[in-house]
């Protein structure tokens, strides 16, 4: 892996990577552009090769070498904002800003996590959202930064336990520490049937077991993946901003189970407030003796560091995320070796999603069996679904897995707002796929959704009304894919570009089905492998409009 030797270099000489992205970000904060001299200086300061500093700088959307104005506005191009604009992408906002001669540079971004109130933009570090977004940005309307509406539909909220006034998440941690029983966390979580909420649905406790039992010497690491990259999902942002102690407690428990003494929360830079909240939460947790050295008589130690991403969807993939923490390009690496064996700094590493970890304190406190009673076979427990602004009642809802989509869409979401009609439902982000209104009887669950041709992903449900055309949606999906492909493997690197070119040229790719098959079977990671599924589900859902043979 390019960079793998560099990260070994870092490990060997304790030259840790985060400095690189942070130092580059500092340049971005103070100047219009990053110059070659900055690369050389940062390389000299960190003792890392300048070619690799250059490579990292060029990879991330926040960094790069383009000129930026003092005022830099990131305009959300996520699917929810796209749907909110009636099927138009972020360029319309850029055009309007330019027409108004706003003294700002702009950049489309996937996504800011304001799907419930879009369209949205991040003006420096200030979020703005609402139908009058452009007016807000031009100072013609008062800025709006609406909070995330949330609700739990389960009797005893699990992930939303804290948000809805439940018990202190740290109680479970101190119980476990007092008992000194490392095995308990894994036992309970194993029994609970908890599967990762980041998209892949891997059983959480199995991952922990692998790390706990790994024969690779040296420290273990726990990483919380707060790179909630799936446009449409905002549950992780909600949890990181509003109940970060639950997340930290979940991390502490997972770390105890695996033997990790050091944890990272990787927060995407598109969520500046989440980062602030986490930094404060970590300080508070240390102050209260939840984190730090000597947590019990046995000298247990665990501490957490907050790491800010730099703009890359693929960085949500675990090998890419690890590279990013190491200060390298966020490229995907071939597996094996798996991070559970060779992860951060080539040590056994657990990467868990925010929502997954937030369920852990409750599971440990109430027992795995209590959690297991929720949900259906293969999809146990609760899931937070995120409904976008097109719904009458947008927001984050904790529901039992197995709940039919129709109940979520119609009862919780209240159907489509205004005079519009539901044309399709995008499930699980841009790589999850599209369902037609006729498919709403599908249950919310890993297997049921897969059978319907989509993926649960982060559990976002984006209602798309009749204003967005099929071709606009197809272009939206391909553009997202082409923008965020990390570029490592040939099928995804070139294939996403060819797909986009085919839509933009107004026709279909000469060899579209072959292209999709090559990407599906040949891509290195789930990103490239999932794009064809999203495209095909779109083609099915909009078969009439696209005139595709399906």
């Amino acid at each position: 892996v390019p960079g793998q030797t560099v990260s070994e270099l870092e490990r060997r000489y304790a030259r840790r990577g985060p400095a690189i992205l942070e130092l580059l970000r500092q340049v971005r904060r103070t100047r219009r552009r990053i110059a070659a001299a900055d690369i050389d200086r940062i390389a000299a300061e960190t003792g890392l090769p300048r070619a690799h500093v250059n490579g990292a700088a060029s990879f991330y959307a926040d960094l790069g070498f383009d000129d930026r104005a003092e005022r830099h506005v990131q305009i959300c191009d996520g699917t929810a904002c796209f749907a909110a604009r009636g099927g138009r992408d972020a360029s319309v906002v850029e055009t309007e800003l330019r027409a108004a001669e706003a003294d700002a540079s702009t950049q489309p971004v996937y996504c800011l996590g304001y799907c419930y109130a879009g369209p949205a933009a991040l003006d420096g570090e200030s979020p703005h959202a609402g139908p009058d977004l452009v007016d807000q940005l031009l100072g013609r309307a008062s800025p709006a930064d609406p909070e995330i509406p949330f609700q739990s539909q389960v009797d005893e909220p699990v992930v939303f336990a804290g948000l809805t006034g439940g018990e202190d998440p740290w109680d479970a941690w101190h119980d476990v520490l007092a008992a000194g029983d490392r095995g308990r966390v894994i036992r309970e979580v194993l029994e609970s049937g908890l599967r990762g909420r980041g998209g892949a649905g891997f059983p959480a406790a199995r991952k922990w077991q692998t790390v706990a039992e790994s024969r690779t010497p040296g420290p273990r690491y726990l990483i919380c993946n707060g790179d909630e990259g799936d446009p449409g999902s905002f549950v992780d942002r909600l949890l990181m901003e509003r109940d970060p102690q639950r997340l930290l407690a979940g991390m502490a428990l997972a770390a105890y189970a695996t033997g990790a003494e050091h944890g990272y929360v990787y927060v995407r830079s598109e969520y500046p407030r989440a980062r602030e909240c986490l930094v404060e939460a970590v300080a508070l947790a240390r102050e209260h003796g939840h984190l730090g050295p000597d947590l019990d008589a046995a000298g247990t130690r665990f501490d957490v560091e907050v790491f800010e991403g730099a703009g890359s969807y693929v960085a949500g993939e675990e090998t890419s995320l690890i590279h990013s923490i190491e200060g390298l390009r966020g490229e995907v690496a071939v597996r094996p070796p798996y991070p559970t064996d060779r992860g951060l700094m080539h040590r056994p590493t657990v990467v868990n999603n925010v929502e997954t970890l937030c369920a852990v304190p409750w599971i440990v406190a109430r027992g795995g069996a209590a959690y297991h009673r929720h949900g259906v076979a293969g999809s146990r427990g609760t899931k937070v679904v995120c409904l976008n602004e097109r719904f009458r009642n947008p927001g984050a809802y904790e529901v039992e897995l197995g709940t039919p989509l129709r109940a979520i869409v119609e009862d919780l979401g209240g159907g489509i707002a205004g005079e519009h009609e539901l044309r399709s439902l995008q499930v699980g982000g841009p790589l999850g796929g599209f369902l037609s209104p006729a498919q709403l009887d599908t249950a919310l669950g890993f297997d049921a959704l897969r059978e319907a041709g989509v993926e649960l992903g982060h559990g976002s449900l984006i209602a798309i009304d009749e204003r967005a055309s099929a071709v606009d949606l197809l272009r939206h999906v391909w553009r997202f894919a082409a923008s965020e492909s990390c570029g490592t493997c040939a099928p995804c690197r070139v294939g996403t570009r060819r797909g986009l070119e085919a839509v933009e040229s107004g026709g279909r790719a000469v060899a579209e089905q072959e292209l999709l098959e090559t990407m599906r079977l040949g891509s290195l990671c789930a990103f490239g492998r999932s794009v064809p599924q999203a495209v095909r589900s779109l083609q099915r859902t909009y078969a009439g409009e696209l005139g595709v043979r399906s």
Partner: protein, 892 residues
């Protein structure tokens, strides 16, 4: 452990840990690959090696093999994915990507294998302009397929980290160095690994821009440093088109450096000597071979007639083959009748030879380079391998990056110093104090292997007594190395399970260089790290390609071929019987003794074979006087060197690219040198030149061919009895000792006992003694001399290549504090004076050297470092003290 898998229905057994691709290759099947390279970890990015694994498409290169796995290379869906991936990949390239000759493009071959002649996808292609900034590496980003092999070679094999992928998605492409910078501005050290691995020709070298096919390829051994890289020399139109490291090379494993890989242009340089030269009326004039040989032999006969055979001496060549060295020492011993033949190991590793023989028994490193693969600790002393032995330096660096610990002992901040756990920067000349200080700590802290010492070593009691005086504080007092750093280093070395000592001329080229070798070797003996399965021993890095071999085959005044003493009656009589002559039981003259004898009038004729003594020997002024004093100086050379310019006769020889024979590298491997080119003009191979001289003297040396010479050597030297050209050609390189044709050669020495007279290792109780020169008020700086990466030794070869575009002049390194005090700026011209000479050159202000110390190389004749160096020599071996010269520095 093996794993059984099935490939296209055939069962195959492969090592545990193998990949599906390994199984496919083991089964003799083939799949195209692009991002895979056997030197690198699997990357899995091109997706061209897709095969069916248990029925599903998977990349062969990165799929770990499981027992019972069924692999199909012909599965239609998997092949369709591979084709699709390749078509997509090709669709981003300009059409000319497929016009590259197939033998230079894995991409073209992959397209042929998968039946792709054009792609089905229209759309954007790569754009970018060709970077021609580097003399040896041309980069065309339009042909980049982002396989990152170049980046990974640079990271995982070379360890320079000069290249990286930049951008993302479709725009991802390799870029050297910093943002927007040229290749020539990058950190590239021109090892060529990137070009060697590039599957498309995006990175290539000048000689391969010409699409004309290569006419022939010759596998040979590099003629630069002593690492002994196996090279493939590709020839077209009687010239070297390119050189690539051979994947079959057991030493270099498909890697090389800027010298071996690129610096071959000298071989056809316009100023190669192509005809003999004879001094007439004070000027060297062209002469025929007949006339030149006649002159040389007449003079030699006259001088031996008038003054006896010991009025003649020869300096043999560490760059020539074993067979040529064997022949020259035989010429001196048989045709002239003197033992006065020596080689330049006298000037570099004679202390290694003496020290290692005394401590362990044999004149060579104790372990094989392969043992470095499992070393967990390197003690690197007085060597700068990333410049002077780049392939070894790169390997050590990778081992260290992968977790081995590293202790560097060197006054200068060498590149590996920045990778070290501890860098002991003692004053030049203080090695013995440092090594004794470390030995003191090994004993004091309980790291000595008492059982090993009791069973296999002598001298502990005397050593223990001596070491009482070498507390860390005492060692600090002498060397300037802080006591706590000595403690840290001793603990790291002591804790290691598989420690390797690697050292160079910074240990040997001292007035007490042999003591340095012995006190360093003590450390390995004390910890049981030599002669054991775990230990990685004591390994000198030899300077020239065949400096080990020149001594091995007897180009030494006291030793016959195979380290048999001239004073050993039994051995000498064996040679006398074989050669039909009487051998003087008294050793002949060593090089410095030859010089003194010439100035005294005892030596009248000096035959210098492939050595530029006027540039490389210390105190150049004295060397010139020596040449002046001799009645006959013969220089057998490939260029008109400073020595040749001053000779009476110049005989044109051959470069390593034109030679047939063998070299012995630093880890005692006999390796074949095979001629890729003919010597130019009337030049002859040195083997033939020596034969001609012998014939002129009326002596038949036998050995009509190099293979015959090797055969005769093997018959007379038990250490090499099992080695022959035929066997080397059949089996590849062989380590000596190799005592019979059915022995594999001893890669690791002393497993069954040391080769000392009593079979036990000999610890040496040697006190620190000060170097020959000390700084004083008139000469307040200490000058250290050494090498730079892109040039080699006297520079006769490298200065005649485009390496001068990488470095075209020497600059003396000065510490910033000294520079400021003296008002010297970076690049300013300065004068460096010693008691013997003056050199005027540019200054390089850098903290690589400590305050009070200077460093310069001896590669450039206009910065004649050796006009400064001291004539102090090692008390045991007469090796000059190149590493410590008192000088003064003034702004010029």
């Amino acid at each position: 452990m093996t794993v059984r898998a099935s490939v296209d229905g055939d069962d195959v057994l492969v090592e545990d840990g193998a990949t599906a691709l390994d199984a496919i290759r083991a089964a003799g099947a083939e799949v195209p690959t692009l991002c895979w390279d056997e030197r690198l970890r699997p990357y899995g990015s091109c997706r061209v090696c897709m095969v069916a694994v248990d029925g599903s498409p998977a990349p062969a290169c990165s799929t770990p093999l499981a027992d019972g796995m069924e692999i199909s290379t012909v599965d239609p869906p998997a092949r369709e994915v591979a084709r699709g991936a390749l078509e997509l990949l090709v669709s981003a390239l300009p059409e000319r990507a497929l016009d590259v000759p197939a033998e230079r493009s894995e991409l073209v071959r992959a397209c042929d294998a998968l039946g792709i002649d054009r792609d089905r996808f229209a759309g954007a292609r790569r754009s970018g302009s060709v970077d021609h900034s580097h003399p040896y590496l041309k980069y065309d980003p339009e042909l980049c397929i982002t396989c990152a092999r170049c980046v990974r070679m640079c990271d995982e094999v070379q360890g320079t980290f000069a290249l990286a992928m930049v951008g993302r998605g479709f725009e991802t492409v390799m870029a050297p160095g910093t943002h927007g910078g040229d290749w020539s501005d990058s950190d590239c050290v021109a090892c060529g690994a990137c070009a060697d691995s590039c599957p498309t020709g995006a990175i290539t070298e000048p000689g391969l821009l010409d699409p004309q096919p290569i006419e022939r390829t010759t596998m040979t051994t590099c003629g630069y440093c002593g690492v002994g890289c196996t090279l493939d020399v590709h020839v077209r139109d009687g010239e070297v088109a390119s050189v690539s490291p051979s994947l079959a090379g057991p030493v270099n494993r498909g890697h090389a450096c800027v010298k071996g890989r690129f610096a071959h242009g000298f071989a056809r340089s316009g100023d190669r000597l192509t005809t003999p030269l004879l001094r007439r009326n004070g000027r060297l004039e062209e002469a025929s071979w007949e006339v030149a040989i006649e002159y040389v032999t007449r003079e030699l006969r006259r001088i031996t007639g008038d003054h006896g055979p010991n009025a003649v001496a020869a300096i043999s060549s560490a760059r020539a083959t074993n067979e040529e060295n064997y022949l020259l020492q035989k010429l001196m011993r048989v045709a002239i009748g003197t033992n006065s033949v020596d080689n330049c190991s006298r000037l570099c590793h004679a202390p290694s030879s003496a020290g290692l023989i005394a401590s362990l028994g044999l004149s060579g490193g104790s372990n094989s380079f392969d043992d470095f693969d499992h070393a967990d600790c390197f003690l690197l002393a007085g060597a700068n391998p990333t410049e002077a032995h780049p392939v070894v330096g790169a390997r050590i660096k990778q081992r260290v990056i992968n977790g081995a610990s590293l202790i560097v002992v060197d006054p200068r901040r060498i590149e590996l110093g920045s990778y070290a756990d501890v860098h002991l920067r003692g004053h030049p000349g203080s090695n013995v104090a440092v090594f004794n200080g470390l030995a003191h700590l090994l004993l004091a802290e309980g790291y000595a292997d008492e059982a090993f010492l009791a069973e296999r070593a002598d001298g502990l009691a005397e050593l223990r007594e001596l070491l009482a005086d070498y507390t860390p504080e005492a060692a600090e007092e002498i060397s300037g190395v802080p006591a706590d750093q000595l403690v840290a280093a001793a603990r790291i070395y002591g804790e290691a399970a598989h420690s390797a000592i690697v050292y160079g001329l910074g240990v040997t080229e001292h007035a007490h260089g042999t003591d340095g070798v012995r006190t360093l070797t003590n450390l390995a003996i004390m910890t049981g790290a030599v002669g054991t399965r775990d230990g990685c021993g004591v390994n000198p890095l030899r300077g020239q390609n065949n400096v080990q071999g020149a001594s091995d085959v007897g180009a030494l005044p006291d030793l016959l071929p195979g380290y048999q003493r001239v004073s050993d009656d039994e051995a000498a009589s064996r040679f006398e019987r074989a050669w039909g002559v009487t051998i003087d039981r008294k050793p002949g003259l060593r090089i410095p003794e030859m010089f003194d004898a010439a100035l005294d009038g005892r030596l009248k004729a000096l035959y210098v074979f492939g050595e530029d003594i006027a540039q490389t020997d210390p105190d150049s002024g004295k060397v010139e006087a020596v040449m002046e004093a001799c009645e006959l100086v013969v220089s057998q050379e490939i260029f008109l060197s400073r020595t040749a310019e001053r000779a009476d006769v110049v005989l044109p020889g051959a470069s390593f690219l034109e030679k047939d024979g063998t070299f012995v590298n630093f880890d005692r491997r006999f390796q074949r040198a095979r001629p890729a080119l003919e010597p130019p003009g009337d030049a002859r191979t040195d083997f033939d030149v020596i034969q001609s001289v012998a014939q002129g003297l009326g002596t038949d040396l036998g050995c009509p061919t190099p293979a015959d010479a090797m055969r005769e050597l093997a018959s007379l030297a038990p250490l090499y009895a099992g080695i022959s050209h035929e066997r080397l050609d059949r089996e590849g390189p062989l380590h000596w000792p190799c005592r019979s044709a059915d022995e594999p050669g001893e890669a690791t020495l002393y497993m069954d006992g040391f080769a000392t007279p009593n079979g036990r290792a000999q610890l040496a109780a040697k006190p620190y003694l000060p170097p020959g020169e000390q700084p004083d008020a008139s000469y307040p700086f200490l000058l250290v001399t050494g090498r730079r990466l892109v040039h080699y030794n006297a520079g006769t070869m490298t200065r005649r290549t485009d390496n001068v575009r990488l470095l075209n002049a020497e600059r003396v390194e000065v510490n910033p504090a000294d520079a400021e005090r003296l008002g010297v700026g970076n690049g300013d011209t300065v004068a460096v004076r010693s008691r013997r000479g003056l050199v005027t050159l540019g200054a390089h202000v850098t903290d690589r050297v400590a305050p009070g110390e200077l460093f310069m190389s001896f590669h450039f004749p206009d910065a004649l470092a050796n006009s400064l160096t001291s004539d102090a020599v090692d008390d045991v071996t007469s090796c000059p003290e190149y590493k410590v010269t008192a000088v003064r520095l003034d702004a010029a």
